[in-house]
Amino acid sequence: MGFGESTFKDVVCTVCGCCCDHLEVTVKENTIVKVKNACAMSTSKLLNYMNERLMKPMIRRRGRLSGCSYSDAIDAAAKILSKSRSPLLYGWSLTSCEAVEVGVELAEEVGGFIDNTTSTCHGPTILGVHEIGESSSTLGEVRHRADLIIYWGCNPVHAHPLHMSRYTLLSKGRFRKSRSERTLIVVDVRRTDTAKMADIFIQVEPNKDYELISALRAAVRGDEIEQDEVGGVPTDLIEEVAEKLISCEFGALFFGLGLTMSPGKSENVDAALSLVRDLNSKTKFVITPMRGHFNVNGANNVMTWTTGYPYAIDFTRGFPYYNPGETSAVDLLARGECDSALIVASDPVSNFPYRATCNLTSMPLITIDPHITPTVLCSDVAIPSALVGIETSGTVYRMDGVPLVTRKLVEPPRNMKSDTEILKDILRHYRNLKRSGR
């Protein structure tokens, strides 16, 4: 370590739902200069966090975004919300739990909708859990005990790069010390890089995951499957796989958007949850959704303990109401039922379907984000914020619900505040406006 450098150990990463906490980050003169133990995505984020930053608050005047003071931006934001009949507060998965808690308070105060990125990602998972439940465990249980691992409709080699080495196939546990003591099954519509590592790769026909899970459930039960193949997979292979599922000592199924976002959605997850539940009558089996963002689970948790519901919450009538498909962001926007939006740490303009995005960009739009994104560029008010886990600390929840505290490693750019502070300022100003009758 050189002069004027300091190294932080056990740093919590803020990219994907793995929330790896063994990073080593070296800081010199308020800049990150070296990163150890992190995956490529994380290293890239940590070394390039100053790229394309939104550096000052902006307001749209006469059709153009231009710089303004922080207090003007707060004032404009609060005024937009105070005039709004159905404001939408969306995002939340890339910020801290502390910020989300203020966000919920703000949504309740303004009588709006609050939704996080779950509604475009693992929302169907949660809908499945409402009906079936979930047999799960923390990632360490998998590391210690699992002799059978399944990745279904997800590609951790690219999306969760350290998942296998920290928690599953390549990890070292108390009872499974090496790769040779574990079996990997991958189910996907194409031979992904994760599939290439599998002991058994099952290539399922696109949009036939549901049928395949049904067949597996039947085979696990010992029922006869009358068809010769299901979803492009020969019934013999299905029965062979079912045998592996039953005879393992501890199985762990991880799944991603291959199930949640292909036709069937929540029913696909319902089936996977039911399969794992069924397997528990024969052996030990757990299932865990591969959460994408580093704090989408935190957003779910905060929203659940404060309102009872994990996302897509409607506060317009003064009490929490929840019905994804009705109260979720994309659906509200597609039906044109919102008249303003506050986006926090998210870029829906880049991700949402066309009609929703059209509507989103034709209403008063406020964005709080560290970076310049297409959503920022379409906004009427844009407020820069400090990066959680780099410039400000905050609590996050790993994909298995383990809470971790991210660190402040460097000072944010001058005068830049955290999401928590900005939201508190908006809330305070909104209340003042209401009190003075505006």
Binding site: R221, D223, G264, S274, D339
Partner: protein
Amino acid sequence: MSALKLTLRRTVVAPLHLEIISPDNLSGKRWREIGEYMVWEGNRKVKLRNLFKIEGEADANLQDTLIEIVGDMSRGRRIGYRMSGGVIRVRGHCGLHVGESMRGGRIIVDGDAGPWLGANMAGGTIEVSGNAGDYVAAASLGTGKGMTGGSITIKGNSGSQAGAWMYSGLIRILGSSGMFPGVHMRGGTIHIAGECSGRAGANMRGGKIVVSGKLPTVLPSFTFEDIRSQTRVDKDNVEGPFYVFSGDNNEDGDGRLFIKIASNPQLKWCEKFLEV
């Protein structure tokens, strides 16, 4: 039968909560009184007369109450919520949750209906001339218990998961249906006169689904039983012949799928299991 007529007089800009519009709430009331009722439009409460021109009168007798709604009700929620008698007619499209938890009476929709039509329905009838969205007669999230009575007829198409967690009652879809009709069904009958995009009867434990049009595949957890020449849907005989499957075995289910042979040549493989 006198009618109470509500004509939408302006654009609705936010979700509109209309559970107050039901014969149970409005029968015997004068239009002036009705106009003063407040409903939520987004986060503001508005008077009904602000939204609707209100004419006529709702009969004092619940069973004779007729409410007509004119205008685009696509943003409305819960018209006819928990009603137990009388008639509501929507002369156009209606929004979400129409007829939710209905116990009796009749709802007629001249246009399309949004999702959750007749959710948790316990009795009465609903007729939709156009299409219906997803979750027709479905159970509310997490309850595991959906429709327990009544009947719904959709002349057009329906979305997915019609009759989810159904216990009893009748759903008729004269057009085609999205996937997962009768998912987790325990009883009752669903008849799809047109096509079904797939996964009929997934997780069913009881009840009957009849598909007269094309159903591309049957789930592997169903067992082929027999061929039947016809079957009953409520009081009607529906002509087959049908392939009959039982399932969903994954749930130890004893439900039945009746799939019309003429529309489903791709299912001929099951005939090898016929007991000769």
